[in-house]
Amino acid sequence: VTSARSDDVLCAWLPQQTTRIDGITAPLPSATVSSGNTTTPSVAVSYNALSNALKLDQIPGQREHSVSITSCQASIATSGSAQWITASLNVCLDRATFKVDIVTDQSFLAATSITNVAQSIRVMLHIPQLGSWLGFNVYSLLSYYESLREAIGEAADGSRKTVTAPMPCKVLSVLKKDGDQVKAGEKLLVIESMKMEISISAHLDGVFRSKVQEQDAVEEGSPLCVVEQE
């Protein structure tokens, strides 16, 4: 299973007939199934949906492609303690040839690292025809459904709205006091990144509570403040 942004795709290989490898890609059967009065997506239900589709040997929307590698030069890149693989390939995709640059986010590609529960390996590739690079998280079937289970668990808690830093930044000023009533669109904080000042505003009405102080250096994704709905 590979996932890029919001489109998760199933990849499966067809029985090998020649030196060329054929496989299919297909959108995953819908994961949102209303059962009784809850509409939360259930991992088990969507897993069963896929399982049934595979048994029928026909997944809706599946497309067949062929892939083969004509040449490949791979090496290991290092930055600090991090290591990953970079490779430059000539591939044959659906009988057309492409020049592809590929990198991974880690250097251990053994089968064990991808079957680790809920883990994926990130593959990023550049093809001149695309004009830029695209990234895919590659999962095994098991690790994919495990990661879904974790994601659903986190989403269950929703009434508090945490505002997170859109990028690593410095907090220049906190405009509201804890306990202040704020309205959607109101400015809450001013941060600075790359020598630019950016105002952070509320997405919804609620009570403001700051998670940072002025002059704090903040990492991307860490909470800046909470706007709690009453």
């Binding site: 490949c72 591939v91 695309l130 859109p166 790359m194």
Partner: protein, 444 residues
């Protein structure tokens, strides 16, 4: 380090008069203009005031020159000039500390933000107020002066493709102005330089009102600019070499290459930045996992330039400007240069950090780029179309195969990795090593 001279690059220090003074007082040549030229031109307000006083032939943008910083008074002046207006840090540059205000209700907040940015970045919260010209082109003239009173112009650069008031694509010559207008602008620019006995490289920026054909003086940048390579490509001159030449007392009238100055073909520069165009160009950061410049950079190195400090494994941090590379191409015509730049951009692998790589190609492929009268509203006007991949249609079949390719390559990769060389123990020992010299059997 026993340096004879310092070249200040094009960062913030390059226009800092105190820095230039400190360098000169230390007995080192500063490769740049005099600190008096810097301080009278570096500050936007005093530059305008100076020109108004000394040379009325240079057209200025309508605006307020009074130095009052009182918010109420400024707001009143803004209403008098008529919205939209532009607030600028008087000591600013590089697109930082600028805001367009379209409505009186936004004015006080915008002023506060601009003043605070100005104070932190440029050491002075002083702001000026100008009429914002909506359908304007940003055209600048490169000038060069020496210690013998010569000031020459090295023709224009068109820098209208901007986001956040920062240039992303520049070209020369401008596809829009004709020979007469070009001469008029060059004359005005040289006039500004002569007035100040300007020495070394500088850029006189103009805003060009496409509707009326009038141009107005904007400011002088008293440094070599980021986009100077396109001038180098079309004039075949090395600007940095000329800077050093005049800093060493050289006389420009003796340089044979300048008379007459060549002007050949067309050059385009693109600034590759770590940013997300679909999120209002928010700066991005992370690890650059692969950096491989286009093949043309090595097969056609004379006409394809990559100027960058990054390599595979570089960290792109938030502590500097988001620009990670300048890409410059030259070709005999504008159409050729445009096609070449698109090819170079698409063939460059810059993987791991979100960049404007695809956005730049969108801009170059956009129909509006074929219209020579494009203005600084080029990006804001067609933003929604520009953030979509220009190749989305032509590559849909390829795209649907990519997930399969990714998982296939992942499985196949280990077999292509170079074998880890087997590290034998004691390989670093010299042969016939003996560590007990006193043992008679070890004596030779």
């Amino acid at each position: 380090v026993q340096a004879d001279a310092i070249h200040p690059g094009y960062g913030y220090l390059s226009e800092n008069a105190n820095f230039a003074d400190a360098v000169r007082n230390a007995g080192i040549t500063f490769i740049g203009p005099s600190s008096s030229a810097m301080s009278s031109l570096g500050d936007k307000r005093s530059a305008k005031a100076y020109l108004r006083q000394h040379d009325s032939s240079i057209p200025l943008i309508p605006g307020v020159i009074s130095s009052s910083q009182d918010p109420n008074e400024l707001e009143k002046s803004a209403a008098e000039i008529g919205y939209p207006v532009m607030l600028k840090a008087s000591a600013g540059g590089g697109g930082k500390g600028m805001r367009i205000v379209r409505d009186g209700s936004e004015f006080s907040d915008a002023l506060q933000r601009t003043q605070s940015e100005a104070a932190r970045l440029f050491g002075s919260s002083d702001c000026i107020l100008e009429k914002y010209i909506e359908s304007g082109k940003h055209i600048e003239i490169q000038i060069l002066g020496d210690q013998h009173g010569n000031v020459i112009s090295l023709i224009e650069r068109e820098c209208s493709i901007q986001r956040r008031h920062q240039k992303v694509i520049e070209e020369t010559p401008s596809p829009w102005i004709d020979a007469k207008k070009r001469q008029e602008m060059c004359q005005a620019a040289v006039g500004v330089g002569k007035l100040l006995n300007y020495e070394n490289a500088g850029t006189v920026e103009f805003v060009f009102d496409v509707d009326t054909g009038n141009f107005y003086f904007l400011e002088v940048n008293t440094r070599l600019q980021v986009e100077h390579p396109i001038t180098e490509e079309t004039t075949r001159l090395d600007l940095v070499a000329l800077q050093i030449f005049v800093a060493g007392g050289g006389d420009l009238s003796t340089v044979a290459e300048l008379s007459p100055m060549p002007q050949i073909g067309h050059a385009i520069e693109c600034r590759l930045c770590a940013e997300d165009p679909s999120r209002d160009f928010y700066p991005e950061n992370g690890t650059l996992r692969l950096w491989r410049p286009a093949a043309l950079a090595s097969t056609d190195p004379r006409h394809v330039r990559f100027e960058t400090g990054v390599a595979t494994g570089s960290q792109v941090s938030i502590h500097f400007d988001s620009m990670i590379a300048k890409i410059v191409v030259w070709a005999p015509t504008r159409a050729h240069a445009r096609a070449k730049m698109i090819k170079v951009l698409s063939d460059t692998a810059c993987i791991g950090v979100e960049t404007n790589q695809l956005f730049l190609q969108s801009c170059l492929l956009n129909d509006a780029f074929s219209d020579p009268s494009y203005t600084t509203s080029f990006i804001p006007k067609s933003l929604s179309a520009l953030v979509i991949s220009p190749y989305a249609q032509s590559t849909s079949r390829l795209r649907s195969a990519l997930p399969l390719l990714a998982s296939f390559v992942l499985k196949a990769l280990p077999q292509y990795l170079p074998e880890e060389p087997y590290k034998r123990p004691f390989t670093r020992m010299r042969s016939r090593f003996r560590n007990q010299a006193f043992d008679p059997t070890n004596r030779l």
